[in-house]
């Protein structure tokens, strides 16, 4: 069933381009079938899976590589499926209203469906290599989605940036997977987590895997691709930021942390440090954005940092809080992006300096925005508050020493920033005060058209869920508990609670809200302060200069390695032959015994003739002379064949040589009589030296090879079987047409191809009227 659902995504993705031409934007409703069916099926499995019994399906794919289509739906996978497919279905419904009919929409819907399927694959896969395959599929499909408006240079650049950053991380992750998988002796994720391998190699592998996860989840210093990726159409952003793509890294860290965090000293400082830094950087940057969507994008960066801190610690209570945050974030962030999409769609701007009074014009949308933003900010009675409470509570009791205290301080500071930019979003987008023609624009707001109700319903649905879950935690508690329990059995025992009593945790929450409110009041001062800091080095700058440097390096390396001169290429290859096998021959082998000068005086004489003819061919100045020398070599070799006891060879050689000389003459008729001297890159001395070296090497090799035989020649059997089995006395011929006839079949095919090549090369040179 799991594979079938993935297949459904693939089928709809392939069918969507054709459907899109007929249905227009309604194609999204058809494509919603895939995530919808997945979510519905997952709901039927929920009861059993959340109790701890996983549904698995294994289809053998490349057993030799340890690569199986192993799919596994456990509690945490179910939680992720609920997000990926549940929110996915909502976003497909939203897309139907967001897009007006335009060409390429069907293709877009197809890619979006493929993207949903890939992400589903990431969370369901139970094989490291399979995870990698789906992981890269999300990178590729997100590249296509971000660059959908391909007429815009900024969209193309953003798409390229996203795929370069996440693709590079993905490659590092693959290397890490191989290291971990080889150390564990299996590539099965559940197998590795059940019996985690240890040691330095595994540590190195984990760092590489974390690198991949951090690029995907936009952790500092790889965070810059995510804000740029908002060049994508808003439904894509909503999906990418809330339930997919960036959650993949969080997902992977959450899977690995319980098994590996305690065993490797670097894990917690690295993961939690990065998470806190990301949370602060993202929040700080979000505070100075004027574009509502960009503000949310930096907000996502910040929230991702938060999630990584929680799920990366590998401590049961924190893991539980992290699972709660993943759900909460999925709901409110998707709703917020959809709201931005509605505003953009109706008002044609997202600049909070220009927008004014939208709240009065579309109160429903404003309410959804307020609820979602409040959930993000951690206002009580909403799901976001519950997860933040759980996080504070767990961090307070985590016993992580100074690092834990720092993490708590960082998370509180990050939450203060979150409150501030959440308020900035709502007040800026829907408030009345800020939009008084700043930046020379007329305020936009009071007269924008109202959105169609169905356009608002998807976002409203998510907002309602946020409220319901916030008021009655029991609604989501089984999902979060079951999900966390699948990661770490101890984490499954925790519960979400609305009221913990008058504890330090509550104090921290109050502190967060108060400090956040202060920051909102002093927003102007903060903005001015940030403006003064603007010159700081940015990760984008490092990225672009690294990219330019890479391109320059490639130019230079190509110029050296691929200089276009055939003799130089050949020279390098031949020198390698001399250096590697040649050196081995010189140092490791001894000449065998039983060397004779020649079989007979005649052989010595003929060999001498051939030798002279060959040297003559090398130094002849006229083309015909060179060809005649070549013919001499051939006839001489034929005589040598006779002496060696090979009449078939001798006959063939004689005939071939005759024909070859005729063909040479046919062609040389056209060419100048003498070889023209030309400018050489490789000097004469170098060529003679290389040629001499090759000659000595081959001569020595032939002596050693002839004496190195240890096994009985296979031809003994051929000699015995030729008459009884193949009915032929000429063993050479029997080998050609019977024992090794397959070789001969290949050979005559080559001859046919060569003849075709010759005829077409000559015919191509003719003028059309000559081509009879």
């Amino acid at each position: 069933m799991l594979a079938l659902l993935l297949g459904l995504h693939a089928v709809l993705a392939l069918a969507a381009p054709a459907l899109g031409r007929r249905l227009g934007p309604r194609v999204f409703l058809v494509c919603a079938l895939a995530p919808g069916a997945t979510a519905a099926w997952a709901a039927t499995q929920a009861a059993g899976v959340l109790d701890g019994s996983a549904t698995t399906q294994v289809i053998s794919w490349v057993p030799g590589l340890g690569l199986d289509l192993a799919l596994r739906l456990d509690g945490f996978a179910l939680l992720m499926v609920a997000l990926v497919s549940g929110i996915g279905a909502v976003i497909f419904a939203y897309s139907r209203w967001y897009f007006s009919p335009r060409p390429g929409l069907g293709r877009f819907a197809g890619v979006l469906t493929a993207f949903a399927g890939s992400m589903l694959g990431v969370v369901l896969a139970d094989n490291l290599l399979l995870i990698y395959v789906f992981w890269e599929l999300t990178s590729i499909t997100s590249y296509l989605l971000i660059g959908f408006e391909d007429e815009k240079g900024s969209a193309r650049a953003a798409a390229l940036q996203a795929i370069l950053v996440t693709g590079a991380g993905g490659l590092a992750m693959l290397a890490g997977f191989v290291l971990v998988g080889q150390a564990a002796g299996t590539y099965s994720l559940s197998g590795i987590l059940a019996d985690p391998p240890g040691g330095g190699v595994v540590g190195a592998g984990l760092v590489l895997v974390l690198l991949g996860a951090c690029t995907k989840s936009a952790q500092v210093p790889f965070h810059f691709w995510l804000p740029a990726a908002m060049a994508a159409p808003t439904p894509v952003s909503a999906y990418l930021h809330s339930a997919t793509m960036v959650k993949a890294g969080v997902y992977l860290i959450a899977r690995l942390a319980p098994a590996f965090a305690a065993g490797h000293a670097f894990w917690r400082p690295l993961v939690m440090g990065l998470g806190v830094a990301t949370m602060l950087v993202g929040g700080w940057r979000a505070l100075r954005q004027h574009d509502l969507k960009l503000l949310l994008a930096y907000g996502t960066v910040s929230q991702l940092g938060f999630m990584v801190v929680l799920v990366g610690a590998g401590i049961p209570e924190l893991t539980f809080a992290g699972a709660a945050l993943i759900v909460a974030h999925g709901l409110f962030k998707a709703a917020l992006f959809m709201v931005v999409g509605i505003v953009d769609h109706q008002a044609h701007t997202r600049d909070l300096r220009v927008l004014s009074g939208l709240g009065r014009r579309m109160p429903g949308v404003a309410a959804v925005a307020a609820v979602a933003a409040a959930s993000m900010a951690g206002v009580p009675l909403l799901l976001g508050f519950l997860s933040k409470e759980a996080a504070y509570e767990a961090l307070l009791h985590a016993h992580l020493g100074v690092g834990g205290a720092l993490a708590l301080a960082g998370v509180v500071a990050g939450s203060v920033l979150t409150f501030a930019y959440g308020a900035r979003f709502v007040l800026g987008g829907f408030g009345a005060g800020s939009g008084q023609g700043a930046g020379g624009h007329d305020p936009v707001g009071p007269d924008v058209p109202r959105p169609a109700p169905a356009f608002v319903v998807p976002a409203a649905l998510l907002a309602v869920l946020t409220v319901v879950a916030g008021v009655a935690p029991a609604v989501v508690d089984p999902l979060v508990g079951g999900g966390a329990g699948a990661l770490d059995p101890a984490a499954g025992k925790a519960h979400l609670a609305l009221w913990h009593g008058f504890t330090l945790t509550l104090g921290l929450s109050v502190l967060t809200l108060a400090a956040g409110a202060l920051l909102v009041v002093g927003a102007g001062a903060v903005e001015r302060f940030q403006g003064r800091l603007a010159g700081a080095p940015s990760a984008v700058g490092v990225y672009s200069s690294a990219l330019a440097g890479l391109s320059r390096l490639a130019d230079r390396v190509t110029a050296v390695l691929q200089n276009g001169s055939l003799p130089v290429y050949l020279g390098v290859i031949l020198l390698t032959v001399l250096a590697l096998p040649g050196l081995t021959l010189l140092t490791r082998t001894r000449l065998p015994g039983g060397i004779v000068v020649g079989e007979s005086p005649l052989q010595v004489v003929v060999a001498g003739v051939v030798l002279v003819a060959a040297v003559g061919a090398a130094f002849a100045h006229r083309r015909f002379a060179a060809v005649l020398f070549l013919g001499g070599v051939g006839y001489g070799v034929a005589v040598l064949f006779v002496i060696q006891g090979a009449p078939d060879l001798a006959l063939t050689q004689l005939l071939v040589e005759t024909l070859a000389v005729v063909i040479f003459v046919l062609v040389l008729r056209h060419l100048p009589e003498r070889f023209e001297p030309s400018v050489w890159r490789l000097g004469q001395a170098t060529r003679v030296a290389v040629a001499g070296g090759v000659g000595v090497f081959v001569a020595a090799f032939s002596l050693v090879a002839a004496g190195a035989r240890t096994a009985e020649p296979v031809s003994g059997a051929y000699l015995e079987q030729a008459v009884p089995e193949a009915g032929g006395h000429n063993v050479v011929n029997v080998i050609l047409v019977d024992f090794r006839a397959f070789d001969t079949l290949g050979e005559i095919t080559v001859l046919t191809v060569a003849a075709l090549g010759i005829v077409s090369l000559v015919q191509a040179g003719r003028r059309p009227q000559d081509r009879a």
Binding site: T652, I663, H670, D738, I748, T752, V759
Partner: protein
Amino acid sequence: MRVTGRSTRPPQSLILDTCLGAVFHTVLVFSLFLLFAGHNAPGGGFIGGLVAGAAFVLHYVAGGTGQVTRIAPVAPFVLMGSGLTLAVLVGMGALLAGGQLLESGVLSLDVPVLGTVKTTSALPFDVGVYLIVVGLVLAVLGSLGGEADRPADEPEGTGEARAR
């Protein structure tokens, strides 16, 4: 192959033509002998094919591509194609007969006049090789040889090439 139609060669002598006719057929028959004897004595498809090719070269030397084209029974690629098909069919035949690909068996036939003729299924394979080698030689003579028939001082296409 193509007939060039504007040969620059002098008209041929009757004596040369007559001699050539005799020698040509002798050589062809000899090539067939080599082909059929090849299983038991020096010879075989390659050697037979090359000898037959050499017979056509004689014709080429005497009368150019035009004469070769007149003499050759079929176009070179028909020869090569049928040769390749024959070889593959022999291999498939062994497969159908329950053996391995390209495995051969011994056949004995009673032919009324000749008596008992013993042959093997490898012979058709060798015939395929023979046809391909003959086709290769004919293809080369027809293409490269055809070009060589042109007057050497008026090479084709080079006028434009030089102008460029």
